[in-house]
Symmetry: C2
Subunit: 197 residues, 2 copies
Amino acid sequence: MSSDNIETRTRVLDAAVRVLEERAGRGVRMGDIATAAGVSRQAVYLHFATRAELLVAATRYLDEVLDVDRRLAPSRAANTGVERLALYIECWGHYIPDIYGVAKALLLAQDTDDAAAAAWKDRMLAMRHGCRAAIDALHSDGTLAPEWTPQNATDALWTMLSIQNWENLTSECGWSTRQYVNGMKILAKRAFVEEPG
Amino acid sequence: MSSDNIETRTRVLDAAVRVLEERAGRGVRMGDIATAAGVSRQAVYLHFATRAELLVAATRYLDEVLDVDRRLAPSRAANTGVERLALYIECWGHYIPDIYGVAKALLLAQDTDDAAAAAWKDRMLAMRHGCRAAIDALHSDGTLAPEWTPQNATDALWTMLSIQNWENLTSECGWSTRQYVNGMKILAKRAFVEEPG
DNA sequence: GTGTCAATTGACACCGTGTCAAGTCAACCA
DNA sequence: TGGTTGACTTGACACGGTGTCAATTGACAC
């Protein structure tokens, strides 16, 4: 039955997201996800050909659930570049903790799997567009610091906001989500904004 | 023969560094290193109990060869905090390409191996001291931007200068080493330095 | 009843790490 | 010269995780 089919598939995705979240994306085997979904290991392979495919599907699934577009709306509605930059960081900073487990697993799978690498690159490129939009907003306001081209500033901001950096700051430096958001706002504002006058 | 012993050991280390460099730290098996060293796979295990141990030894070996202390001397001799920060970034930015292959392998091994994780953490902590020293120099000059505590600024600078960030900027954004050094100098100066007056 | 289809069960191939035991070869030494 | 030592080789194997395959179960549909 096709609805049954779909149900099992989503149960697996749900379990994957849950268990990846729990274990921060590390050391999660296909069998673990199957068990968590209350299904045999082979049933998972009935729906996802490889581990990488499952991880990619889990990312998409999670994105749907979390409704990224809605979250980004405030940033898009900003009146100035400075405001847009701050709101984008705010949004991103609260988004990372929600996706961290799945993202980390995908990040790790990258090294051995090309499909995972492509999927990761794709996601990161999407995130880059947000950075670019914020920098362009500064630029057209005339408030982008003169040391930067929009291109270079985007590269730098994008890199600064990477998930690995979030990981380092929260787990090695003990920053909270709030501290992360504030810290990145300060860093980005000082680094990229030149208030005229 | 003990001199023979040492010779084989260093031949393996040498081969490891070479082959890790070549393949950017990815997909390098114990057998590959053995072959590159002109030695059997088991000979490698005669000198290094695990892959992680070999990677850690290779890092130390490379550090000896590259003479980190000498490289850091200019930065330590700086007269102002601003100068020290710039020189530290200069030094670090030229150091990363030399260690990237080995570092990347260690970084990847982290996920499955505790010894590798500890070694990586240790190296990164050493690098953090350099960041801390630069920030402290700014602080005692009274040129650290008021938004930052020395602690937070160190966290941020340390994170900014991570090898993953270098990787992203050079490989995804196409930055050269020179561009990296310049970009990071601009970013760090704008973010952390408040010129008095 | 019979066919269909998802899921289960258990076996197996593959790969890379790490282990083990037997054998080779050179240097050193009585 | 013949024996011991010690590094290295060779080939086999265990283990763990991924992915495959074939036979079987069980429900629902006609």
